[in-house]
Symmetry: C2
Subunit: 343 residues, 2 copies
Amino acid sequence: MNLKQLSTLLGLSQTTVSRALNGYPEVSEATRQRVMQVADQHNYRPNTRAKALATGRAMAIGHVIPLSTQHEMMNPIFGDFIAGAGESYSTAGYDMVLSLVADEDQSRAYHDMAAKRNVDGIVLHAPKMQDARITLLQQIGLPFAVHGRATDIAGPYSWLDVNNTSAFQRATDFLLDLGHRRICLVNGQESMDFAFRRRRGYEAALQARDIAPDPALLFAGEMTEVYGYDTVRRTQLLEQPPTAYLVSSIIAAFGVRRAIEEAGLTMGRDISVITHDDDLSYLRNGADVPVFTATRSSVRHAGSRLAKLLISQIENPGAPPLTELLEAELTVGRSTGPAPNRI
Amino acid sequence: MNLKQLSTLLGLSQTTVSRALNGYPEVSEATRQRVMQVADQHNYRPNTRAKALATGRAMAIGHVIPLSTQHEMMNPIFGDFIAGAGESYSTAGYDMVLSLVADEDQSRAYHDMAAKRNVDGIVLHAPKMQDARITLLQQIGLPFAVHGRATDIAGPYSWLDVNNTSAFQRATDFLLDLGHRRICLVNGQESMDFAFRRRRGYEAALQARDIAPDPALLFAGEMTEVYGYDTVRRTQLLEQPPTAYLVSSIIAAFGVRRAIEEAGLTMGRDISVITHDDDLSYLRNGADVPVFTATRSSVRHAGSRLAKLLISQIENPGAPPLTELLEAELTVGRSTGPAPNRI
DNA sequence: ACAACAATTTAAAGCGCTTTGGAGATTTGC
DNA sequence: GCAAATCTCCAAAGCGCTTTAAATTGTTGT
């Protein structure tokens, strides 16, 4: 059923039917009702492609996901982020277009999306510190919003980020207050902007108490379970092993816990752990009592907010870029306790 | 840059330029070269919407993801599946359109996709045993392929599935061979078809040795870490606690391990565990030596294969439905050992 | 040199929708 | 009662591409 068929069926012109369905005032309420009803009856939906061509709006938003060898983006948070974004999209009537591309094809992917005009805007994931993609998109002129920020980028752009610095500063302070002095940072890859900011927060807290960060306690890597496990194994062999771990992801934190327990130690007593918790739907931080003390910030919520932010950007062209900074919440669980008195 | 501009630039008609770019034989090799070069120079890409309208092919494939309250689909495997599918799509030139909808809006979502004509085919996720969506899509007539199968559906359709029954039968056999008799099944939600098949495999193995399955050892639920943890806690309080756990997901298996270790027991010695392992990129089953004995089947690979299967379905209409059954591989790790001799 | 044929190229229609510029019909003001 | 204003509605153009049908050019055999 297309517009033509529907309009002959109704004995009206395509113009009138189109207007009736799209809520234009030039059509009488009576005919609008009639049109609506018959359209509904026949389950009419305007052909997206034709509509997009005619209006110049694709009603779709693109996500370019790099398929790097390290799968940096295809990580656990992806699903939840997409779920949040998808929620916002579908209530606003937008489709979500995913484009998974090899790392090296990324800039071409953005150019393509812009030239092919199959999306009205783009969400940029996992920004690095100076991210060429941002400058690229600024040039291309397609609306976009970044999940995260880039530290070294000139010119304004829309973004939504967690306050990583303050979250990790706060978490480090919490551990310091408990008497810990050797705190191991199990961070994400340093090229990622969020990881840089987290380290900065960690270092700021140490420096505020005149503690020099020990490079032997700084780790950066892809946040897998095995990475957390290995890091603990390795650091516990040090002459002065850390008494606390500050971990960038709950997945890695599971590995951290495994290593701790395998060593016959007890988390929260012998060794303290704080993790960042993206509040993933399938990896909740315990049920009633949180397992880990954590800096929590729902990535699903972030997805939902960022999508709305981008949509508003698209629908108000010319408006200045929008930004939103979410604060993580420190939830105290059973993984932290006073630093043990070493002899 | 659109076709019109490009063709006046070249001093050719739109027809010729279009044909040159799309590889039709009616254009001389010399002009084709020239067209290609200039198009490349100006970074020309045909407008997707116009092309889709003209050809009737959207060059996009839809995934409808139910956003149920339980987030059954928004689970860890989602990211990897999508990564695999996306790979296949992008090499074949297709876009991926995700539509996240509330559970109750699902059938409308399928109807909409069909009527709006913005996708050429649909991937159906997480089928239930009798899944109304399959019959719906059969009626609608849009090409589709199912990730998994439905047991109680008449009429053929395309699907790709892991041989869940044989995998779990094999795993159960393995445990039985080790002397375990009380094996607890920590399964996914029973409404899901895969969970049903896994239970069937488990029961078949028991019955083959004349062991009656104990209902107190059968669990079904959403496969979170906490679910695995709770199930072990609960079952270890039984008069005759199980000596082995057969788990449907590595996430739940992490919870199982946590409970075992928290109880002061050793996995692989006191209690054996086998898990199904979807070979997730960020949750590898250990590094060199697998942590868990597992029935492994890469969900990313499944995504990639299913996408290809659907594309071939789309490009050869009229061909009979395609199906593919993947066998899971049993990898022996350190989580299994002989059943302890209880007194 | 000219018909016959093949090789290139083009004009124009069409995909299904929105939207501009009017046209009829109806109401209003005096 | 009639011009002006207001409601409704419509024909047709246009979005950027593909594709059909036809025109143009080039090649060949005699």
